[in-house]
């Protein structure tokens, strides 16, 4: 509220001075004279640029979901004015969240040693995470840097959210293809309220009919129910939870594991194959009978 009223005040000299001194969130600046960056890689955008980035990246990522950099840009463009601040405040309200903001840990293949994770006992968070990364064939290094969020602390919150996305996959057991990703985005929307996660749900348009039915009947209700009632997943200090039992962590957070999507799809695929083989056999025998 304060931000909007500052911009709308009259252009007297006193106000002008305070406007010029303000940080990029409320200062009006020209694209030819951007304020200095707040962190490495920071690009201060004007409101029009942010709007154009939001619209463009929304369309681009819908048309080509492999453009993870556009999904990231959509998240950053739509996170302000309110949502990333709410998430940051949720972190500040919890002791673990405050510690994360103070330590600012980063998740890369250097900081999280995969061979060590693989040696952990089964059903620990670390082992489940490593197993999930191996199963899906991804690495922790693929996350883009946050560039378009002006507040430095909120930029870190966004970066942390992005880097913990894989841990959320491990926590819920959802796979990396589009059906699992959309279900996880639904969960993240209910849990973090970031607009990009909600907007990503439009990707249901790209699902096949059976996948859509499964999504609306099982996974979306699971995602919304669990996301809202669970504790803030952003406050989990994953680096310290690597040796905890994953079921204990799920119980503590209040997250139920949804039906395993890979197993369901495999089962349905095999059932379809068996039915097809039976039908072909029947046709062949039927043919021989007539001959």
């Amino acid at each position: 509220m304060l931000k909007r009223s500052l911009a709308q005040r009259s252009w007297s000299t006193a106000r002008f001075g305070s406007l010029l001194a303000a940080p990029p969130e409320i200062r009006l600046f020209s694209v030819l004279n951007r304020p200095p960056p707040n962190y490495e890689g920071h690009v201060p955008l004007t409101t029009i640029e942010r709007g154009a980035l939001a619209v463009g990246s929304a369309l681009g990522s819908l048309l080509n979901p492999r453009r993870h950099d556009l999904i990231a840009a959509l998240g950053e463009a739509t996170a302000t004015p309110y949502f990333i601040y709410r998430l940051r405040n949720a972190m500040l309200a919890s002791p673990t969240g405050r510690r994360i903001l103070r330590d600012r840990p980063r998740i890369t293949s250097q900081t999280l040693s995969m061979p060590y994770l693989r040696t952990l006992p089964p059903n620990t968070v670390g082992r489940t995470y490593a197993a999930w990364l191996d199963r899906e064939g991804v690495s922790p290094d693929t996350r883009d840097q946050v560039r378009y969020i002006d507040n430095e602390e909120c930029a870190y919150v966004m970066q942390r959210y992005r880097e913990c996305h894989d841990f959320s996959h491990a926590l819920t057991g959802l796979p990396v293809f589009i059906e699992g990703e959309i279900a996880l985005k639904g969960f993240e929307y209910a849990n973090t309220l970031l607009p990009m996660t909600g907007l990503s749900l439009t990707a249901v348009l790209r699902l096949k009919k059976a996948e859509r039915e499964r999504f609306f009947s099982t996974y979306l209700p699971w995602a919304l129910a669990n996301g809202f009632k669970a504790k803030e997943v952003i406050n989990v200090y994953w680096e310290e939870q690597l040796e905890t039992d994953v079921d204990d962590l799920r119980a503590e957070l209040g997250v139920e594991k949804p039906p395993d999507l890979r197993d369901t799809r495999k089962m349905l695929r095999e059932k379809r194959k068996a039915e097809k083989a039976a039908k072909e056999a029947k046709d062949r025998i039927g043919g021989l009978k007539d001959a």
Binding site: L20, A21, A22, P23, S30, V31, L32, N33, P35, P36, P37, N38, Y39, E40, V43, T46, I48, E49, A52, L53, G56, S57, G60, R67, D69, L70, A73, N89, L92, R98, L101, R102, D103, R104, R106, R147, E152, E153, A155, Y156, Q159
Partner: protein, 318 residues
């Protein structure tokens, strides 16, 4: 960088940082590790190494070539789409006009000099994807029925050359001896013999060279006496109102389109900064004159009010 009127009444950037009001957070988090801190970028390796500009950044001269190389390796695959989006398709008109005004090709049946030496020898520098080269060859074959003109496409970047070779497959020249590709630095054309080229073209390339004067001197060396040096490059817009619109499009929309289409904001930020850093029309004409060329008329032709300009020079006869 040009200081706009508004920047004169604004406080300078460092005063802004010092007088930023302190916001009251629940807790001031001081990160233990230096992530998300404003790191000063240290680019030069030693104090006595010469520096040059890379966009608005200052880099050591030895590093500029590899930085530019990285930019063009990154943009090579979406080069044409991005050119169309950034210039709204107008770059095609510029290139067409450039080639037509050069009028390459000569018909051996109608020209006595052409009978002795059929076809032009053309060197297209920084011509990686072949935009200009194909236009030159098409002009020679269709307008002058000249099928002996030879174009050598030279580029320092292998990815751009690979794009050019790929696109050449769609033309009638890929199997002929009218087109060849060579990977070289324009400042050092040792594989091209002196006084052997009729026409030297460089389109939207010279802006990226570390040493433009060295490239101009090499151009002067390889051209025959009477040969033509032609350069199509971004330049300064003449009309001040249009210039303001153009600058805002450059610094705002182009990096944004780069992010959306090519996934690379930084390369396009470099591109618009390098346009800003390039000398204006008169300065560049004087550089061409200094390299030993005779410059016809005022020396350049503005396109779209100066967004691009065609500079020409002729190597004088001895």
């Amino acid at each position: 960088m040009n200081q706009s009127f508004r920047s004169l009444i604004r406080r300078p950037a460092n005063a802004h940082a010092l007088s930023r009001p302190q916001y009251r957070y629940y807790a001031i988090t001081r990160p233990r590790f230096q992530h998300f801190q404003n790191q000063p970028s240290s680019t030069s390796s030693s104090k006595d190494e010469r520096t040059t500009h890379f966009g608005f950044e200052t880099v050591a001269e030895s590093l500029k070539e590899s930085r530019v190389g990285a930019v063009f390796s990154s943009v090579a695959s979406s080069y044409d789409t991005m050119n169309d989006l950034m210039s709204l398709g107008i770059h095609r008109l510029w290139k067409d006009h450039f080639v037509r005004s050069l009028n390459p090709g000569s018909n051996s049946t109608t020209s006595a000099t052409a009978k002795a030496q059929p076809g032009w020898k053309i060197l297209d520098i920084a011509g990686g994807t072949g935009d200009i080269a194909f236009r030159l060859l098409d002009h020679a074959s269709t307008i002058h029925s000249d099928h002996s003109t030879h174009v050598t496409v030279a580029d320092i970047n292998p990815e751009m050359l690979a794009e050019g070779r790929k696109r050449a497959l769609q033309t009638p020249y890929h199997n002929s001896d009218q087109l060849s590709f060579v990977e070289t630095n324009a400042e050092d054309l040792t594989m091209i013999p002196s006084n052997s080229i009729d026409l030297y073209t460089v389109a939207f390339g010279i802006r990226n060279f570390t040493h433009k004067d060295a490239a101009l001197r090499e151009a002067s060396r390889v051209l025959k006496p009477g040969g033509v040096f032609a350069c199509l490059e971004f330049s300064k817009v003449q009309n001040p109102v249009f210039n303001e619109v153009y600058k805002r499009w450059s610094f705002s929309a182009i990096p944004l389109i780069g992010q959306l289409v090519a996934g690379d904001r930084d390369s396009y930020q470099y591109l618009v900064e390098s346009i800003e850093k390039f000398p204006n029309q008169t300065e560049f004409r004087d550089m061409i004159k200094e390299a030993g060329f005779m410059v016809p008329g005022k020396g350049w032709e503005d396109l779209t009010d100066g967004i691009a300009a065609i500079h020409k020079g002729v190597k004088p006869l001895p």
